[in-house]
Symmetry: C2
Subunit: 688 residues, 2 copies
């Protein structure tokens, strides 16, 4: 407590006027005006709430106070806030006109006004006020001894109403605390939808009381109890987040069919003397939980009334857990292999005049719509559900692109032109380890297409998708954050906020601040590196990880069979992330040097090269007692070898033939080691 | 996968024979024999289970496999183990005679036999087998390319049957994931009791369906649902851990009395014309959740039948959640202030011939015994419950010592001599930030006292106690671990295993390995330091934290009022831990140098001194943009000033007067800054 006095007095000194460009706000607000002067924080800082907000505001303000106290060490005296108008004279006044509903199209706007002695947040609903508090936290500045908010006026509201993150809890189960801290991350980034992918080939993750077999045989004991789900729904509600659950059908059906093989589509060909045609048709295949990654054939039988009976019962139990208005039924990647091979299903198609498997799937989908409607839910599905007979109430989730042999975002344009509402995920596949820039510049509003105002209005927003073939509870945060914050800005901020380098600068600070929510995207890197280093010093490993990135796209897990769902995700690639920190700085230094060969610019480049040579030496020493280091030593050597030669080139001392030099650099473009690639290859190439 | 081939071939190379002293086993087994040769791990490693174990073995073996795979990156093909005798030819064979019961006195022994091509674990029960698997994990060795277990025979069983950790979830609520990961830590250290302190002045933490007021008004919304409790009990059972719940009565009653003031002991003196003596006696005081730390007067009224009615109803709801045979009713620190001031209670004492408040408390305690017995529970309480009329079935929890003006462990001797079973916690108060050595050398078996074999048998074991006045969910792991592992060894291993420096060497490795269980004791330090550094580089801060320790005993939170339960625990003292890493090394270097003034020994010392001078410079630079650094800059300066002069002294170049030099060193013995002290003071002092 003794040092508080220091802070209190120091708080009275003046601070240099801050410029708008220095602020690290994200998503960037619609309007920011900075005025002269500051509001300086003291121990006596208090908050008061007025109006008619939803009670979620109390917890929200209490959490705000604790986070501000944690950052500043102020020892605020205000504890838990539980009532309206508790401290009428408080420095921070929050007023909300009405209780916010957790739904689309809700008014999320807020006005934040910071003056010398008073801060006000005015919002229509508590949802807007919560956003205002996040902005205020991001406004926090400091000099050497005190913390303050710059006097300012901020008016803000989102560009899109659907700003989501999907987490796949099937392929790698993600425990309750992972979900909760990521919901906190969403709220901090003013996102409002958490799409919970709960069922896939690799496991059913919802406790079912009337169908206990699903968790008994198809979950490996890894599932959310109904109480945990309700608890998470409440947690999300308190943070202004809508939860959209997903049960993926009719494809991705391995886990459902492990419990209920009788509603599967697979035909068993009976062999031997007793086989008869009519027996073939009714024989039941068995299924197992899938351990690999990929697209698999287990698919529900759309011709079997029992399929709809079971699904209806499942929805009857699952829907009431989720008060939100949307239910995602998946519908993706059904290749129809088992349908084609099943004579009963072929007969059914003929009888119902369904020409293609797509039409059959639409028939299936449309059976589900009333089951969901009964519970007040609108159906949502991946873009494959979009066929001519689909109800206009369904929401189309656009996801396919070049990887799937489609034009990126084409389904989004198709959908809105046909009168469907849509959400974009193509371009937001954060599990694929692409750089943040690619997601940031991916706008839900298609650039090429000519759309009417009505059609544009059907584009609800976008959703980052975190599939978990290669993400465990230890690594998932580092795959989600900080890149999802940049997607949040794309979905919230004005269309013309697209300066990548400015975004990167702000993202660095935002990423740091996300730690206070318990997110592990920064801290867990050291955990993985310590394991690799076998408890030796990790600083050199860390240096090397700062120039390596996990393989991108679907290249790390070839054929989906290199990694089973229980394979170790404790390897070097799991410690590395996209946007490798030093790679960015190095590549920029190279660009500067190539443009202007000053000694200073040269020194910046050579300091990296000499570092990498010594990192390689160090890793070799480390490997004497760390077998896991062996896998990337050849890569480190390639970087070291190239660096040595490039240093000579820069001093005009290289004696190597041009083609040998080229080959040394090209060797750095390998993807053969430890599932990572060197992110400095492009920079190195420019130097020769 | 590509690097697996490297490992597979490398695995065939031979490894140097390991010595027993090189093993990092903890707790050290009763018998260890190392033989020639090794069992080298390959991708094909598999486990088989036979006998009649409890099904908890399946999850235990599956977790074992995943941890081993995570350490080695082997990509084992065996997934989830769910059946007996699944792989009869597996390299690791586990046999258990019977299903282990989660109770005291259960057979926890195991025999582990590692041979060139075969490993066997034989145990009476699965509990022993789980211990054997932990030992096997600790046996893991490696050379530069492969992992192996040294051929060996280990026979092992615990010295004490009660090896516990208590976590206080009242003062700072500790979420489910904190409890779970600490239970994993206990299991890894072969501990078997988790004592869950669920109720205290600062909050009631159990969802109550028949008495919802307790969570509505006395929990701040921070509590465990009954399902969460059941889920944790199951989690603990699967790991061989008995849970002992605690509801602390009749003192520490603020939270209970916030909900039910009518059963409190406090007398309200009504003032004004209408006050009458008989009204005074029945007036009800109001209570509130306590925000400070300390001993408070709110106490249940032992003369009020309603007290017993409510307690009986509470036990009826709470007992069934915990299948274990023990229930802790607290009973500590009741100062009787409100009892003395309450005429009705004084009358009650006279009527029942209870001479002292202690006798009155025993009367109270003995009313609870049948309430618990009804649910098959034995009563346990802190040592204050020990008075002449206490039932011999009660277990006495010995905790007081010098801090409380008592002889350390005296109550333990008293208890066993009077025929009570006891558990020792005095000397195991890990929240007080004492060095690991002090806990490690504290044996439950008292050295001075002469005890019969029967009396000795009543000493069940010991329990580390983690009170949370100053521990949040972010910092608690670093207060519990790794020191609790040393306590685990005291309680498991032979009495003569007391070599502190050998323990420290092993503890370092054990601490590192505990990370794989999700424990955050290492990783969260950087989180706190990043916040202090305001997102600047933390390496110098880290260096300084390696010579600082949080203030010990009860000195950090003076009067219990400096820190409220919602004050920030994000400060420098929260990043620091006992047994400061560099302090130990420095003090050893000094001892060596003083004994033998070689240039090498001198260099070891001076490298620290010069480092601290530059750390101080760096911290000053850091502080320009990090207000939280200010609080410990004066301390860093003192260390730097002393280091500068000591460097001169070592070179015989000091021109300072002896008393000025002494003062510089003594200045390093301050406790005035940032709630930490310099752990290198003793070493510095020896150098002048």
């Amino acid at each position: 407590m003794k040092y508080l006095l220091v802070l209190l007095f120091a708080g009275l000194t003046s601070s240099a006027q801050i410029q708008k460009e220095q602020l690290n706000l994200m998503p960037w607000p619609q309007s920011v005006v900075i005025n002269d002067g500051n509001f300086t924080l003291t121990k006596n800082f208090k908050v008061n709430i007025t109006g008619n907000p939803n009670p979620r505001i109390f917890g929200g303000v209490t959490r705000f106070l604790r986070r501000l106290d944690g950052r500043t060490g102020m020892f605020f005296s205000q504890g838990f806030i539980t009532k309206l108008n508790e401290v009428p004279a408080a420095e921070l006044q929050i007023n909300c006109t009405k209780s916010g509903k957790i739904a689309l199209y809700e008014d999320e706007s807020y006005h934040l006004d910071v003056k010398q002695n008073k801060i006000t947040i005015n919002a229509t609903s508590d949802l807007g006020a919560l956003h205002g508090l996040e902005t205020l936290l991001q406004l926090l500045q400091n000099n050497n001894t005190s913390f303050y908010f710059p006097n300012s006026q901020i008016s803000d509201l989102p560009r899109f109403t659907w700003r989501g993150l999907m987490i796949d809890a099937s392929r790698h189960f993600q425990p309750v605390d992972v979900i909760k801290r990521n919901i906190d991350g969403l709220a901090a980034m003013k996102m409002n939808v958490f799409h919970w992918h709960l069922v896939d080939d690799q496991g059913w993750r919802i406790e079912m009381k009337k169908h206990p077999k699903l968790i008994e045989v198809a979950s490996d004991g890894l599932y959310y109890t109904q109480e945990e789900i309700k608890n998470i729904v409440k947690y999300a509600d308190e943070r202004g987040i809508l939860i959209v659950p997903e049960i993926d059908v009719p494809g991705h059906g391995s886990s459902i069919l492990t419990a209920y093989p009788e509603i599967g589509s697979k035909v068993i060909t009976l062999t031997g003397g007793t086989s008869e045609k009519n027996i073939q048709g009714t024989a039941i295949a068995t299924y197992g939980i899938e351990r690999n990654a990929g697209i698999f054939s287990p698919t529900l039988d759309p011709s079997n009334p029992k399929t709809y009976q079971i699904l209806s019962e499942l929805f009857d139990e699952v829907c009431p857990l989720f008060p939100g208005a949307y239910f995602h039924i998946g519908g993706d990647e059904n290749e129809g292999k088992d349908w084609d091979a099943n004579p009963k299903i072929q007969e059914f198609k003929k009888k119902h005049n369904l020409k293609t498997n797509h039409e059959l799937q639409t028939y299936f989908t449309m059976q589900l719509a009333p089951m969901l409607k009964k519970h007040g839910k609108q159906l949502m599905g991946w873009e494959e559900i979009l066929t001519k007979d689909l109800s206009k109430e369904a929401i189309v989730h656009s996801w396919r692109g070049a990887n799937e042999g489609m034009a990126a975002g084409q389904s989004l344009v198709d959908a809105v032109k046909k009168g469907y509402k849509t959400v974009l995920s193509n371009g937001y596949y954060i599990d694929l380890m692409y750089p943040v820039e690619s997601h940031y510049l991916n706008d839900p509003m298609p650039k090429g297409a000519v759309l009417t105002a009505e059609e544009k209005a059907r584009i609800l927003g976008g959703e980052a998708t975190m599939w978990t073939e290669l993400a465990s509870e230890t690594t998932i945060d580092s795959r989600v954050w900080p890149r999802t914050a940049a997607i949040a800005e794309r979905l919230w901020s004005a269309e013309d906020i697209t300066d990548v380098s400015n975004m990167r600068k702000r993202l660095d600070v935002v990423s740091f601040r996300l730690e206070e929510l318990g997110l592990t995207h920064i801290r867990n890197k050291a955990v993985i590196l310590r394991n690799i280093a076998n408890n030796q010093d990790i600083s050199l490993l860390n240096e090397f990880s700062n120039v390596c990135e996990p393989l991108k796209g679907y290249t790390r897990n070839k054929g989906g069979t290199e990694y089973q769902m229980y394979s170790p995700l404790t390897l070097f690639a799991d410690a590395c992330t996209p946007d490798a920190k030093d790679a960015l700085t190095f590549n920029e230094a190279v660009t500067q040097y190539v443009a202007n060969k000053t000694p200073e610019n040269k020194a910046k480049v050579t300091s990296f090269l000499t570092k990498w040579i010594s990192v390689n030496k160090g890793l070799n020493e480390l490997s004497a007692n760390a077998p896991l280091v062996q896998s990337f030593l050849p890569l480190s050597k390639k970087l070291s070898d190239a660096s040595e030669q490039v240093l000579l080139v820069l001093d005009n001392k290289s004696t190597l033939k041009s083609e040998d030099l080229k080959k040394l650099i090209e060797d750095c473009n390998t993807k053969e080691y430890a599932d990572v690639e060197l992110a400095v290859y492009a920079g190195l190439k420019k130097l020769i």
